[in-house]
């Protein structure tokens, strides 16, 4: 259902405010520019011309957490890195989302030991988990589109914090 069909002859669109806000949130989501391990290489590939994530409005990686609304945790998080990651998350303005990219970020994959945080969901709330070691760029893009679907279904009453 494109906007053109809703336009009619009068140049007016009627829609729900909820839908409009969610639509505007999804189509220019800016991820934060950081990578923690080999998954970051696949993330770069996803942004480069061959896969071109900017088709989904995501070409702009921001080097500052203040300007980004999506955190892609690309790689394993060591226990020493954990407070830093949480701090970056806290510095992001609302609304914000997190994608745990790859097995390490989701559940530490093969590294079940003292050095790493066992799943980044112990530090930040994760919206979408992308499986793979590392996931292919298509998988990451699929994760992002899945996140879009999730955001499009958001209800205002659920987002209000008590």
């Amino acid at each position: 259902m494109g906007v053109e069909q809703k336009l009619g002859d009068m140049g007016i669109v009627t829609t729900k405010l909820e839908d409009l806000v969610n639509w505007s949130r999804t189509n220019a989501m800016w991820p934060m520019l950081f990578g923690l391990a080999c998954c970051a290489i696949e993330m770069m590939a996803a942004q480069a011309s061959h896969y071109d994530m900017s088709r989904f409005g995501m070409e702009l990686m921001r080097a500052s957490p203040r300007q980004s609304d999506l955190m892609i945790v690309a790689g394993r998080v060591s226990r020493k890195m954990a407070p830093v990651l949480r701090r970056l998350y806290d510095q992001m303005p609302e609304p914000k989302w997190v994608i745990a990219m790859g097995d390490c970020a989701s559940c530490t994959g093969v590294f079940n030991n003292y050095a790493l945080v066992q799943g980044v969901d112990e530090i930040v709330p994760v919206d979408v988990y992308v499986a793979g070691c590392p996931p292919r760029p298509e998988a990451l893009i699929h994760g992002v589109v899945t996140l879009y679907e999730k955001v499009k279904g958001d209800k205002f009453k659920d987002l209000v914090k008590e």
Binding site: R79, Y114, E122, P125
Partner: protein
């Protein structure tokens, strides 16, 4: 063994009454903790071992006593030689004197020893943790350090673990 190295090992043996072993063209000389600084100084100044190329430790628990060997791998670029000094250290209160006075590079290596093996270094100029977070408990490279496994979620126990897993809040 290399001829040039043989004289050096002999000199070490006479001076510090040490033993040595050979393993696949490598020479390991055993030195007491008390005389390690002196031995390193001698090798650096008299025998041109100008590079401490590696410094680490090995935990032989439970097969061997004393359980730790602190390992100094020395290289002489001038003479194209390399020799390994091994310092056996007891497990009860592992302690070695600092080598930072002889080789500056030992600074970070010794901090790593303190982090990973809990081998304390006497007289270290900067004894903070280097690799591990400040609140780390235990010494991960010791053989008796628990592996710290977290239970893996499978289909049969995923709900169980989900309930008690400590998820982050917003």
């Amino acid at each position: 063994m290399d001829k040039k190295l043989e004289t050096i090992v002999q000199a070490l043996q006479e001076k510090f009454s040490t033993s040595f072993e050979e393993y696949s063209d490598e020479v390991h000389v055993f030195v007491n903790p008390e005389s390690i600084v002196e031995a390193l100084t001698l090798l650096r100044d008299k025998y041109d071992f100008e590079l401490l190329s590696a410094m680490t430790a090995s935990d032989y628990y439970p097969q061997m006593l004393p359980r730790f060997h602190v390992i100094y791998q020395l290289t002489s670029l001038a003479k194209n030689l390399s020799v390994q000094l091994r310092v056996p250290v007891d497990g009860a209160e592992p302690k070695i004197p600092t080598a930072t006075g002889v080789y500056e590079v030992a600074n970070w290596r010794e901090r790593e020893l303190m982090d990973m093996f809990g081998i304390m270094v006497d007289g270290h100029p900067d004894p903070r943790k280097i690799l591990l977070p400040d609140d780390q408990e235990g010494f991960p490279l010791r053989k008796d350090f628990p592996l710290g496994y977290e239970e893996v979620q499978f289909t049969f126990n995923i709900d169980d673990i989900d309930l008690r897993k400590n998820y982050a809040k917003e």
